[in-house]
């Protein structure tokens, strides 16, 4: 063997050794993260049992009910369990009924539980009451702004966000980022998200699930605007914190789909569904299966999505409605849902869904009018712009 061949072998062996070492470190870190996440969930479950018992023993304790509600909300966020959200609202109402004054925690649990159920008008009533009690609190100001954004009351939202300016308040910063994105300042929104994410790393008192949430937001945003590298980086950081997070797996599936990496997309969509069932993830799985040529599996996923969404008693999640439209399923029902949604909330995403549903029913004149409302704030979300292009092209 000559010297250069030996050199190549040595370098190869070192590289392979380095790869194995790095791989082992990643596997170990993920196992540790999984164990810690599991421990956090166990502690939360024990805390819930503890505060349930305390609330049962003391029928006059607003504080115990407030704390119990916040724990249930936390579990609802981590697991997506509907029953926890409903229970959080019930407990928070009991807390606020016992003591409205000096019970900011109870009122916040109630507001967030209502927002989680998309009952934004009721949430606004609670948030505005908090705002009256403390108009200088940027967290509450931005909370009002966020709800107004959801309702499409942009002028009112503008007044709230104008009060915020430069801030280190993480909650206010994340909500301000949403405002900037909706009003077309994509780079401003991105900078706020990246800054909040970097400060969240060292923030005191955040759980793993919450730290992962900042990575999730960065990843979603980056993916939406086509910055795949930034999305990948945020996803890797998120998985290092919370390897089983169903929301991270759903975004990872979208990232893989955008690269036409069908096996990866199917794997992430499957893991997301395994951790938390969401019809939107079924749509991702269907795209992945179609991409790798398994039309029967794709059809099974779409059929399951349709069956699951159509059985929902209330308003459908917009992601579900868009997925149904993209699959050409239940189009009339989606249009009816979009009309109902718009009667309640006139935000840009409601107009976009309505426009897209009209387009799918052949009413492109109506779709163009609706789309002009969707783009009125100056939003530059590529999904909305692509819908607008398709609708415009049918003129």
């Amino acid at each position: 063997m000559n010297r250069s061949a030996a050199g190549v072998l040595v370098i190869g062996a070192l590289a392979l050794g380095g790869w194995f070492t790095e791989r082992r470190a990643v596997v170990r870190a993920r196992a540790e993260a999984r164990a810690e996440a599991s421990h956090e969930a166990a502690v939360r479950a024990a805390d819930i049992t503890f505060f349930e018992a305390r609330a049962a023993r003391d029928p006059y304790s607003a504080g115990d009910r407030s704390r119990l509600g916040s724990l249930l909300l936390s579990r609802a966020r981590a697991t997506g369990r509907y029953e926890d959200l409903v229970a959080a609202e019930r407990i928070a109402r009991a807390s606020v009924a016992l003591r409205r004054g000096r019970n900011r925690g109870g009122a916040l649990v109630l507001t967030n539980a209502l927002m989680g159920q998309h009952r934004f008008r009721e949430a606004l009533v609670e948030a505005e009451q908090l705002e009256q009690e403390d108009a200088a609190d940027l967290t509450i100001t931005s909370l009002c702004g966020e709800i107004l954004l959801e309702l499409g009351r942009y002028e009112d939202a503008r007044q709230r966000f104008a009060r915020i300016g430069i801030t280190t308040n993480l909650a206010a910063q994340m909500r301000l980022a949403r405002w900037r994105e909706v009003t077309g300042d994509v780079e401003g929104a991105r900078q706020l998200l990246l800054d909040a994410r970097s400060r969240a790393v060292g923030a005191f008192g955040l759980s793993r699930e919450q730290r992962a949430w900042f990575e999730l937001r960065v990843a979603e945003f980056a993916l939406r605007y086509g910055h795949l590298g930034e999305a990948d980086e945020a996803l890797a950081r998120g998985f290092a914190i919370a390897p089983e997070d169903y929301r991270l797996h759903a975004v990872a599936a979208k990232a893989a789909l955008s690269r036409r990496q069908w096996d990866d997309a199917a794997e992430h969509a499957g893991r997301s569904l395994d951790a938390h069932f969401d019809p939107a993830a079924l749509a991702l799985l269907a795209q992945a299966e179609r991409g790798r040529g398994d039309s029967a599996a794709a059809r099974a996923a779409v059929d399951a999505m349709v069956s699951s969404v159509q059985a929902q008693p209330g308003a459908w999640h917009r992601a579900w409605s868009l997925a149904l439209l993209d699959e050409g399923r239940a189009v009339d029902a989606v249009l009816a849902q979009a009309r109902q949604d718009l009667a309640e909330r006139q935000d840009v995403y409601a107009w976009d869904l309505y426009a897209w549903a009209l387009h799918h029913t052949g009413d492109d004149a109506g779709a163009r009018t609706a789309m002009s409302h969707a783009l009125a704030t100056g939003i530059r979300d590529p999904l909305l712009l692509s819908h607008a292009r398709v609708i415009q092209a049918t003129q």
Binding site: A41, A45, G63, S66, R67, S70, L71, L73, S74, A76, R77, G80, R81, Y82, E83, L85, R104, G105, L108, V109, N112, A113, M115, G116, Q117, H118, T139, L143, L170, A171, M174, G205, L206, S207, Q210, W213, R247, A266, A269, G270, L273, D274, F277, D278, P279, L282, L285, A297, A300, A301, D303, A304, S307, S308, Q310, A311, Q312, P313, G314, H317
Partner: protein, 145 residues
């Protein structure tokens, strides 16, 4: 502690949730035709559907989650454990397909009699490769791939 709870609330509200009906199972090929099946079902639904304790749960799961060998014969499943984890019950079973899992199929039909919109999933890992099989109410057994 309460301050920490408030911080949790202020940062990120829950994603919108709905009362969705689903159960997930994982099926792992241990080699030589041996298989482990682990099914997760919401405990309240399970108690309502199969009242009568662990023996009733074991019987119900064996009836509703079937692995069929290549010749269409069901593979006998022995219940290894029934464990509660929060509001979920996890039932683990093991069995052996005499001719191996090649050509085998699976059906996950729990709670179909309770919810018309029940969607069940099976994450099947065969030869190190994992796929997700989706079962809507009434779907026939599906080939393991």
């Amino acid at each position: 502690m309460i301050l920490r709870g408030l911080l949790v609330l202020l940062l990120c509200r829950p994603a919108p949730t709905h009362p969705l009906h689903s159960s997930s199972a994982s099926l792992t090929d241990l080699g030589g035709g041996r298989v482990t099946l682990s099914v997760r079902i919401f405990s309240d639904d399970l108690m309502a559907t199969a009242p009568g304790g662990d023996s009733a749960i074991a019987t119900y799961v064996r009836q509703r989650v079937r692995i069929l060998a290549r010749d269409g014969q069901p593979i006998a499943l022995a219940i290894v454990s029934i464990a509660r984890d929060g509001d979920l019950t996890q039932v683990t079973a093991q069995g052996t397909a005499p001719g191996g899992l090649s050509g085998a199929s699976v059906q996950h039909a729990v709670l179909w009699e309770r919810y018309r919109d029940q969607v069940n999933l099976v994450r099947a890992t065969l030869s190190g490769h994992t796929t997700t099989l989706v079962f809507s109410n009434g779907d026939p057994p599906k080939a393991l791939r």
